[in-house]
Symmetry: C2
């Protein structure tokens, strides 16, 4: 694939991202993506085999980065609270850097497991499992109490983060850096105080 071809692929991908964020995956037409990209309709099918494959690509590229961030946090020698802070920070900063991408991932994939996300359930579950592993290790160390199951703790943690992002996405829109920081701290405070031994 030539350099120009790689660029056009990216142009289409970025255009699709904007269109999905604006209109939603189900509501938009492939021609909207082509128009947004300034490209002929057929070219979209030169680079992608279907409308779904475009969303797949957007999701998987980003989700793999997140799974790596979770694995990194787990592998570090920081405290459990710091590990969870690193994960919350990664997700929240992802929103700060590219709100449209996070909107599409959350709204069209993560929270749409019924229609589209079903394909990606396993990938999504990997994230929960990574967080649960951190909690589980913390319980073995004695840093976290063990009356909450790691799986449940992971759901509460991830659910809180996602709910905060959802609030920004649908109510307040993009948000300044200080609010991003405040959110990370509040999430980690609330959840970790509930998990740590006192």
């Amino acid at each position: 694939m030539t350099a120009a071809a790689t660029d056009k692929r990216r142009v289409i991908l970025n255009a699709a991202l904007r269109v999905f964020a604006r209109q939603g995956f189900h509501t938009c037409r492939v021609s909207d993506i082509a128009d947004e990209a300034g490209v002929a309709y057929g070219l979209v099918y030169h680079y992608f085999s279907s409308k779904e494959e475009i969303l797949d690509t957007l999701f998987l590229d980003r989700w793999d980065v997140m799974l790596a961030a979770i694995a990194d946090a787990d592998a570090s020698d920081r405290s459990p609270r710091e590990k969870l802070h690193a994960i919350a920070a990664f997700i929240v900063d992802s929103y700060g850097r590219d709100p449209e991408l996070m909107k599409v991932i959350i709204v069209e994939v993560t929270r749409a497991a019924n229609t589209f996300g079903r394909t990606h359930l396993a990938k999504i579950r990997e994230a929960y499992a990574g967080i649960a592993a951190i909690v589980s290790a913390a319980q073995r160390d004695g840093a976290f109490r063990d009356d909450i199951t790691p799986e449940f703790a992971a759901q509460a943690f991830y659910g809180s983060v996602e709910q905060v992002l959802t609030g920004w996405i649908f109510e307040t829109g993009p948000v300044d850096a200080s609010e991003l920081e405040r959110a990370k701290t509040q999430i980690v405070q609330t959840i970790c105080r509930g998990l740590e031994r006192t």
Copy 2:
């Protein structure tokens, strides 16, 4: 409207619920609903003006009951933790009683605010506001610390509950009574320990 007509309306509503739960709102056809109800295609349009109106009805009927449950909890003279427990119990028990209804509400409305739920954002927000009001009152009483905003606490609480239900919906399926109880306790433990003064 005759008694028989009211019944048919319910038959269609229940059929739609099963179909939405099974196939998703966007993926199913109105003819699937008619078939499931054992009724002619056109009759659906005798009772409802559109496919969306059916989903609207299912959502609003249930959501209003939930808003009432939140208001009741708030009005009672129980402790903040007990109030939040009552709300978690209401939502979790709703799932226990009718998993299909909760699946449709969460997957097709609450978590689909982009396409469909946009219409109901205000209604959904009322629930957050009700929970935030309980937290806010607890902070004034001194029962809860005030370094977490009530809005944030509401998001963490509601997000945790919804994430647990989502896990049941997409991974484990219907769940027995003891697991329901365990979930209520763990949610309230985790979140309240993070909010209460120590």
